[in-house]
Symmetry: C2
Subunit: 351 residues, 2 copies
DNA sequence: CTGAAAGCGCTTACAG
DNA sequence: CTGAAAGCGCTTACAG
């Protein structure tokens, strides 16, 4: 029957040493000499009593809570936001840190955000991650400047906080490259009409790729709402008018997977087979669309897990006082968006 | 310029009172009399100095960390698991509690789970939520019995820990009720071949509904893998053979939205319009399928947010020592799964 | 190689 | 109505 609460003094008593010694051996305190015999006795006593140090007490003394806070905008509504959390949590565990989470609802009062950051600070968070979506720049609460902090998904206006985001642009370019390599030259882009950074980045990436291949970057760009219905309408517009297979696009690169879903429906209604008659590519690798569509959708994955892991990794460096990392604030780190090749791309039909 | 760190003694000094008094007025300690004048002075001083109590120190003293731990299986891969976290986090905030999260990977060593629970305990978590999916019963680490704890998504084998889960069965029954009310009598169920609780619950609920309506609960049950391809095959089997519209099902209730996605494709290939020729219903209200399908899918929502909120709510009661709640362990609390009516259900065509 | 003591920043009987 | 003092469970100079 273990005692109600076994503390360091119980271990000391059981081992016949002082609490100082117990602390040193259990923590392997550097620059400290303890005889192997004593060490063994302490460890045995700790083991026997099932001693578990109280992290709160240690934190109070060392001024390090061993906790980092993640303030994330819309955990709920962002596809795969869970993977950001997962990446952050697992990386935190690797550093023996605990991850606390607070959800920040979109468009709320700035005072509430301040209070949320403050809640982490009151708990002596060693660092804070501020994760957003759909923003280029963000003006985080002032409180964030007083602790190690990193931004995910956006840069701060002042460029003072290290930030990381997906390289949407390069991801889009790599899609065009793949399509060109597969033999396509009339590659359409169904762009999004919503003004978020991803919209601009993906369109720009598409243009980069087209230009690099010596193709007209504007000839086949259409714009629609970034939902299935938009993809449907865009694809209809692209493939319907031209009964002329010699001039219409042979591939449709959609701004996102939801639009690709609409493109599939349009193709079906038009009697066009994917990928034989037309190739379709999405973006987001959004579960469960991408894998559930028939044929399975070739798309681009967002590095959510990596974003979260990068954030924690960078935070730990900042916490160690490597303040030169603050320089990262001016230039966001871009993480690659890998293509996930499935079955919706094939060489264009011989016209 | 605020001091490097302002503590309670700084406030006391500024207000010209003892730290005892500062603590009492800032915490509104019951059974304590303090003159309004003193209170005002203390509050003014705290405000002026920007004093923020150190929650770690308070926790050490009060033996309550103000933190609860969520150990969740597969945050990453479960659709909408984010909403469980959101519900738990927002409810926690309402109670002035912080939510810490650790992800538990499926099928891992039991020792790892023990260590994960222990990590929360070391940080003096006031309570722990153990959330799983795909399980009926679960054998949580022993450590969980030593603190206030609740289970989400499963009951524990011994029935000692309060638990909560979605009422899949009643949700399925309500779909049949809706379909019957709309005029259907030949209602098929595309069941899942995967053996998880949801499979059994939804099938049972379907049967309940059919039986209650005086219909044969077995006539139109088919089984397939719980993915789009399974829904496609099941629907093909159901609607293809009978060129006879007089005997084939007029509605297909799919085990989940992914299967419904396959059902849509089958209907399209068969030249059947939804909902004019056949009604389709899913389950999960899985974003982005349900709303992106055309026509938008009528389905059943899982109460993820409510599950998370219930867990925290119950935990707070347990933390207050309302131990009679442990009795809940024997009988899981079931939370309603509401139907989300969209556009895939209509009265059957007059045959 | 080991330990006595101070202190992290609070709360809380207890006394007055 | 207010305050001195102990103590939550650790870590860490410092002394020996």
């Amino acid at each position: 029957m273990p005692r109600e609460h076994v503390g360091i003094r119980d271990v000391a008593a059981a081992a016949g040493v002082s609490v100082t010694t117990v602390s040193h051996v259990l923590n392997d305190t550097p620059h400290t000499r303890t005889s192997e015999l004593t060490k063994a006795r302490v460890r045995a006593a700790a083991e026997a009593l099932g001693y578990q140090p109280n992290r709160l007490a240690r934190g109070l003394r060392t001024r390090a809570s061993g906790m980092i806070g993640l303030l994330t905008e819309e955990i709920a509504t962002t596809p795969h936001a869970g993977r950001i959390i997962l990446g952050a949590q697992e990386e935190a565990s690797r550093h023996n840190l605990t991850l606390a989470i607070i959800n920040s609802r979109l468009n709320q009062d700035a005072d509430i955000e301040s209070a949320q950051v403050q809640a982490f600070i009151d708990r002596q968070a060693d660092g804070i991650i501020y994760a957003t979506v759909y923003h280029d720049e963000v003006v985080p609460p002032d409180e964030l400047l007083s602790v190690p902090a990193v931004l995910v998904g956006a840069r701060d206006r002042l460029g003072e906080i290290p930030s990381v985001m997906p390289d949407e642009r390069a991801g889009a370019t790599s899609v065009v490259d793949l399509l060109v390599r597969t033999g396509h030259r009339r590659i359409a882009f169904a762009a999004s009409s919503v003004d978020v950074p991803a919209t601009r980045g993906r369109l720009q990436g598409y243009r980069d790729g087209m230009a690099a291949a010596g193709l007209d970057p504007d000839a086949f760009v259409v714009e629609a709402v970034s939902e299935a219905i938009g993809g449907y309408e865009a694809t209809m517009g692209l493939l319907d008018h031209g009964a002329d297979p010699a001039t219409r696009p042979t591939a449709v690169f959609c701004y996102n997977d939801r639009m690709a879903m609409g493109a599939y429906r349009a193709a079906a209604e038009l009697g066009l087979s994917i990928p034989q008659d037309v190739s379709v590519v999405g973006f987001d690798d959004q579960d469960p669309i991408a894998a559930s569509l028939y044929p399975a959708l070739t798309t681009v994955a967002l590095p959510h897990y990596e974003l979260g892991a990068w954030a924690v990794e960078t935070l730990t460096s900042l916490m160690e006082g490597r303040d030169e990392l603050r320089l990262l604030g001016a230039h966001p780190t871009l993480l690659a968006c890998p293509i996930v090749e499935r079955a919706s791309v094939a060489p264009p039909a011989r016209a």
